[in-house]
């Protein structure tokens, strides 16, 4: 069986482009990789598995293992080779461990900015700047646009998406957190440091976060937990003055909050870190890619749900990641064609 390992042997002389090895500016906060992958779902982890195994220095930046479409799936029985049922987060852990076993670096951090036009690509999180020769974007399609009545109008006027940024503005005030993911739970806990009262509003009856974190939030004396509750409107003229909610089977009520922190999911591609300078999109708003998964930005690849498949399946996302990885490997090693590797 021919494995990618034979490609490594035939490319022993391969090095990073001249001048890049010492490109950390001497302050230690920049790190150079061959491949940076944004997103730790099946697409991103499969890409990382292949590039790491091909000997390319690979880093995966993942907001949260619980954040993506697979991470929030409870039961998977049809991922080939993995007899189920298995939880999405457990399947992801298997994938992550496999990529890590070949030397990929995994960091749980949110990417705040990525410049797709330059090479090396510059990727910025809160704590580090990473430069990578190639960028594989695998952030999925659970993004959203402001859609709650009042949300967009009051953004920056009490509506925020970042409690760690703006929590201090609400010292001693009542606030609401809307969401059901790990980020929502963490941010709500953070807000308890400042806010007099934190109303946590969940559409269902549970959140997708670790049991410890969830228990800490639910038991916090300044947190009121509103489950099976929908947000009808964020109220206020020039500032947030309240939030109108509808508990399941109950009647509408208004919580007199001064801040509303929103962490909801939608079904739009997550591309916010490009800060408006995004690669070409399809008419449907997904990322346009060629057959090697490369976007209109040379050296930037998009894989998985970002590309707007007709069916959203983990195995298809994983296959995308592999295609991108092989193309990246070919580009960085200067070959014209992808070598058959199996």
């Amino acid at each position: 069986m021919l494995e990618l390992g034979s490609l490594i042997e035939s490319n022993d002389g391969w090095r990073l482009p001249a001048g890049e090895a010492g490109g950390n500016g001497g302050d230690g906060d920049a790190t150079h990789y061959d491949v940076a992958v944004i997103g730790g779902g099946p697409a991103g982890l499969s890409a990382a598995l292949y590039t790491a195994r091909a000997g390319l220095r690979t880093i995966v930046l993942d907001k949260s293992p619980y954040a993506g479409a697979l991470g929030l799936t409870d039961k998977i029985e049809n991922y080939p080779g993995v007899p189920g049922p298995v939880r999405g987060v457990d399947l992801l852990k298997t994938m992550r461990d496999q990529a890590l076993s070949f030397g990929a670096v995994y960091i749980q951090e949110t990417v705040l900015s990525a410049d797709g036009r330059t090479t090396p690509k510059e990727i910025i999180t809160a704590s580090r700047t990473i430069r990578a020769e190639r960028l594989i974007v695998a952030t999925g399609s659970l993004g959203r646009v402001a859609s709650l009545p009042g949300e967009e109008r009051l953004l920056g006027r009490g509506v925020s998406y970042c409690a760690t940024c703006d929590g201090a503005f609400f010292t001693g005030q009542p606030v609401a957190v809307v969401g059901e993911n790990e980020e929502a739970v963490e941010e709500a806990l953070f807000l308890t440091r400042f806010a007099r009262k934190v109303h946590f509003i969940v559409k269902g009856h549970t959140v997708r976060a670790s049991a410890e974190l969830t228990a800490e939030l639910r038991e916090h004396p300044r947190v009121t937990w509103h489950e099976r509750t929908r947000v009808k409107e964020i109220l206020g003229d020039t500032r947030v003055e309240g939030i109108r909610i509808l508990p399941s089977g109950g009647s509408e009520e208004i919580l007199p909050v001064k801040g509303v922190f929103v962490y909801l999911q939608g079904n739009r591609p997550i591309l916010d870190f490009f800060q408006g300078d995004v690669p070409e999109l399809t008419p449907e708003g997904y990322v346009k890619v060629n057959e090697e998964m490369e976007t209109s930005f040379p050296g930037v690849f998009a894989v998985g749900d970002l590309t707007g498949k007709r069916v959203r399946q983990a195995v298809l996302a994983a296959a995308d990641g592999v295609l991108a990885a092989l193309a990246v490997e070919r580009q960085l090693r200067g070959r014209e064609k992808i070598r058959a590797a199996w």
Binding site: D27, G156, C165, D166, G276
Partner: protein, 79 residues
């Protein structure tokens, strides 16, 4: 001459840390104002930007809301 840069931040804000590091890496001197400790500065920031979210950058009197790389580059003459 480069414009004077002030950045309004809170200590725990990820976008603030990223924005400050972005400026530092490009050798841009700036004044860092922690609005969580300085109420007057917080009011000043709200007045300048019309909103209550950080980071806010004041680059020679032009206001940038959030860590907006393209706008920062534009106002500082970077490409």
């Amino acid at each position: 001459m480069r414009p004077t840069v002030t950045i309004y931040t809170t200590p725990t804000c990820p976008h603030c840390q990223a924005a400050k590091r972005y400026l530092k890496e490009r050798g841009v001197p700036f004044r860092d104002v922690d609005v969580s400790r300085d109420r007057r500065a917080a009011m000043e920031m709200v007045r300048k930007s019309g909103q209550m979210g950080v980071p806010v950058l004041d680059i020679g009197g032009r206001i940038v809301i959030g860590f907006d790389r393209a706008r920062i580059n534009g106002l500082l003459g970077f490409h």
